[in-house]
């Protein structure tokens, strides 16, 4: 099973990279963009086959190291 972890800065924490990308899109006349958030994606290949166990394991990984929950939010998708 694969776990796809998406990490981004929390709403309310200024995302300067997102802002810079938004500015660049504006300069290229992509005027339909309202907001840009830049994050990172971590793909984990798991040996676990039980979805519930995998979810709780990956959640633990996010809390302990993958995300810094002072400034970041994360989502986990299992496929």
């Amino acid at each position: 099973m694969k776990a796809i972890v998406n990490i981004s800065l929390k709403a309310g924490v200024l995302d300067s990279q997102g802002k810079a990308v938004h500015h660049a899109l504006d300069s290229l006349q992509f005027s339909s963009v309202e907001d840009v958030r830049v994050g990172k994606q971590i793909v984990l290949q798991l040996t676990e086959t039980d979805r519930e166990k995998a979810m709780s394991e990956v959640t633990k990984m996010c809390e302990e190291i993958l995300a810094n929950t002072v400034i970041e939010d994360y989502t986990i998708e299992l496929i």
């Binding site: 300067s16 990279q17 993958l66």
Partner: protein
């Protein structure tokens, strides 16, 4: 006075730090991150600057799991004096020994220059050789120096006098180079025995190199 300096893969300020403290007469020892114990006669533990683990994942994120960090946490919790400079500050926030987090500079650039800082509080064991309101000239060199803490956390820092340094101009007016909340350059923990700052006082030891304002700061770190 014995100063123990941590060295992770990617640390690059350990020798400058050692040189600076030794020039003030301190006994120094650099220890590798695989050590599981600190020298028992350590009076000051310094987490030096650099790019531990190449800043992979987040600055300081991987270093917090190094074997030595358990001993660092135990040392801090038992009241030991811990100082984190630059990457050391990032490691200490990641390890939960200091509040808040350091994120990418607002301007997205790596900033390397001299900057003036205002001493906000000296009622602690780190800055006692300086006076509140003093302005010092200390180099900064960082990409992820943008200090963040939420509003409740900031109020707590203010209430407990945990904000020790702010980025200012030479007159002490706020001048924020990187977007840090409240222009914060350095904070300590609630019990005031752990201090982290992004600027490099160990690089401001000789006026011929731009500033010797680091001397008084380091002397304060060495005073008991």
């Amino acid at each position: 006075m014995k100063v123990t300096i941590l060295q992770f893969p990617g640390t690059n300020c350990e020798y400058d730090t050692e040189h600076a403290f030794a020039s003030l007469g301190a006994e120094t020892q650099i220890i590798w991150h695989k050590e599981e114990a600190l020298p028992s006669d350590t009076d000051l533990l310094v987490v030096a600057g650099g790019f531990s683990y190449g800043d992979y994942l987040r600055s300081g994120a991987i270093a917090k799991f190094s074997p030595v960090m358990k001993a660092v946490t135990a040392y801090a919790e038992s009241g030991g004096k811990v100082l984190g400079i630059c990457n050391g500050f990032q490691v200490l926030t990641e390890a939960g020994l200091l509040p808040g987090a350091l994120k990418r500079n607002d301007g997205l650039h790596f900033i390397s220059k001299h900057h003036t800082l205002k001493v906000e509080n000296n009622d602690n064991i780190f800055l006692e050789k300086l006076n509140s309101g003093d302005v010092v000239n200390i180099p900064i060199a960082h990409h992820d120096g943008n200090y963040f803490i939420d509003e409740a956390g900031l109020a707590e820092l203010e209430a407990n006098n945990q904000i020790l340094l702010r980025y200012t101009d030479e007159n002490g007016a706020i001048d924020n180079p990187n977007g840090s909340v409240s222009s914060i350059a350095g904070v300590c923990n609630k019990s005031k025995n752990v201090f982290g700052l992004m600027p490099h006082p160990e690089r401001a030891m000789e006026s011929i190199l731009g500033s010797d304002d680091g001397v008084k700061m380091l002397e304060g770190f060495l005073a008991s």
